[in-house]
Structure formats: structure tokens, C-alpha cells
Symmetry: C2
Subunit: 181 residues, 2 copies
């Protein structure tokens, strides 16, 4: 599939995974894609930890406490540092979000499925910090997202989205757009 | 090029553009890619305006006051709404950043170049709001980013990046990683 098809076919997969490994060379390709994302003022505020050690995965699953995750054969954890880009401005959220989108696309391009879990681990119960402790992440890094990775066992489904013509226009707000679907 | 190559070859192009049009069907494909990005709790907080009308582009160039932009044959402006996903949490920044990454990748996949301009128009001089006024954008939307689009006239260059091994690891912070480059 070409890039536009990969982008359109990517979806948030929340099902269980097949008992098939995710080779380390694929995890490396996925992380390289994530780190290839741009960052505000090139500050490169995003870092990544891939986990493929079964015992370590189990420790993370116990902290996450979300049963559908537990069949993932690998996981990528996304770390950020709130680095100032200039004056009082930091673009760390934009940086890691762009990196995560690349991680998702590379994962799908290599035949796996995944899902962006962020709000669940950055809420008041601070699951992300507990995961960070399992991974020996220093206090000046925040673990803001994890992506379970594996071969999908269940059918791929798509969420309903607003019609494109309600969200995109030509030459002014609400202008005419004829989308292909 | 496949998706991984597109991701690795994308760069922030700040040069001038050739006098070649960007057909509307390509702008539509690029916007469809942008809107295909995931959003927190599927709130779809990002909207887009493509500009290909020369007179309107000129009005925007006058507001932006950045000479290297003025040869772009088209532009995509990114709008956001600070919608609450749940309780007090909004993921609007993550949403538009993921959408922008898709816009960048689709632009490159179709043979054009572009650059993510955000800080420049969301600073104290509020250039983004002036652009929004030119495009009749309602007050409850913020114009946070624009992407000039065209065929590159100048050579493509890449910024220096930290070695991957300083930003990505296996099975714990600072763990071993052997990257392919």
C-alpha cells in the first residue's frame, strides 16, 4: 500500500493480538519512523522505549491493568521532556504527537496494529509514572503514551467520522469542498 | 517510495517553490490524509482550509510577511477547537499535531514540499488570528498552523538530529539499541 492508503487504513485497534512475535528489526524501523518526525525548533523532545522482553511486558501489563493489552507481543512507550523552544514556549506536545502518528503509520505499514493510549495513563492515578518506574525512566522525563503492538487477531473496525466536508474547505471557512468520499 | 521511506525523507522545506500549480485533486488528497489522523476520544477537533486562489494567497502572504513563503502555489491552514474530551481534559494539541504530520507526509508522497509553521503565527503578534480573519474563520476556532505547498525549486536539505541511540532504547531507559543508521 502507498502512503496515502496506509494513512487512510490506519485505525485504533483495541482487540487482542495473535501469538506471533514482533521481530526486533521491525521495532527498530518503527522507532526510527517515530524519531523522524519534525520537532519545534528541532528540539527533539521525544524519546522512545520499545519493550519486547516478556517478563518486563508482564510487569507493565500489571501496572496498566487493561486486559485487552495483555496479548501484545511488544510495546513502545513514548517519553517527553518539556524543553523550552524559545522564550517561554515549548512544543513538546506537538513534538510527541507528530512522533506518535509516525509510529502508528510505520506499525501499520509493517503489518501490525496498535492504538494510541495517552489519557488513560496521564490521568490522576499516574499510571504513566508507574510504568516509567518499571522502565527506570528519570524524573525529568514523562511517559505520556504507550502503543501495544502485534498482529491483530480480531477484525479491524473503524470509528464513525464526521463527513470531510464538515471539517475541510477551500478558500475560506465553510467554503466548497468536493471530497472523494 | 513506501511509507517508511516517505517518513524518513520528509523534511522542513523553507526554500522557494517552482512556478508549477498544485492541482485541487492533490490538495483534497492531502486534506483527506490530515483528517484521517486519530483524535482523543474521537472528538475530531481539527479542521482545514486549503487556499489556492491567487488573490487570497496574496492577502495571506501580506499578513504573514515572510518572503520565502510568497512563491507557494497553495497553502493549507490548520484550525483547532479546544473541545473537552472528558472531565477537564482536552487533546486538541495532540489532535492537530497528528493531523499535521499526516498532511506533511501526504504532501511529500505526492511530490511536493512543505514546512510546519506554528510558533511564528501563534506568538504575541497573533498572525494566526489575522489570517483567520482573512479566511472568515469564526472566533471559536484558532488558526494554529499553516503549510505552504509547492514543488521545491531549491535543493532539499536535512537538519542535524541526535543519534537515534540517544533517544530510543530497548527494555528500559538507556538500554541497548542497534539502529540501522
Amino acid at each position: 500500500m502507498n502512503t496515502l492508503d496506509i494513512i487512510k487504513n490506519r485505525t485504533s485497534y483495541r482487540g487482542t493480538f495473535k501469538n506471533e512475535p514482533v521481530p526486533r528489526e521491525d521495532l527498530i524501523k518503527i522507532m526510527e519512523a517515530g524519531l523522524a518526525a519534525p520537532s519545534g525548533c528541532n528540539k527533539q523532545t521525544t524519546s522512545l522505549i520499545a519493550v519486547d522482553d516478556p517478563a518486563l511486558l508482564d510487569k507493565l501489563f500489571k501496572v496498566i491493568e487493561k486486559e485487552t493489552i495483555n496479548t501484545a507481543k511488544a510495546m513502545i512507550c513514548v517519553l517527553t521532556q518539556r524543553v523550552i523552544a524559545y522564550r517561554d514556549r515549548s512544543f513538546y506536545v506537538q513534538d510527541y504527537a507528530a512522533a506518535i502518528e509516525n509510529l502508528l503509520l510505520a506499525t501499520v505499514a509493517l503489518g501490525y496494529e496498535t492504538c494510541w493510549y495517552e489519557g488513560y495513563i496521564t490521568d490522576v492515578d499516574a499510571i504513566g509514572r508507574k510504568m516509567a518506574d518499571v522502565l527506570n525512566v528519570p524524573a525529568d522525563y514523562e511517559l505520556v503514551c504507550f502503543l501495544p503492538i502485534g498482529v491483530a487477531l480480531e477484525p479491524i473496525t473503524y470509528r464513525d467520522k464526521k463527513p470531510f466536508a464538515e471539517r475541510a474547505w477551500f478558500n475560506g471557512f465553510g467554503g466548497f469542498t468536493e471530497f472523494s468520499k
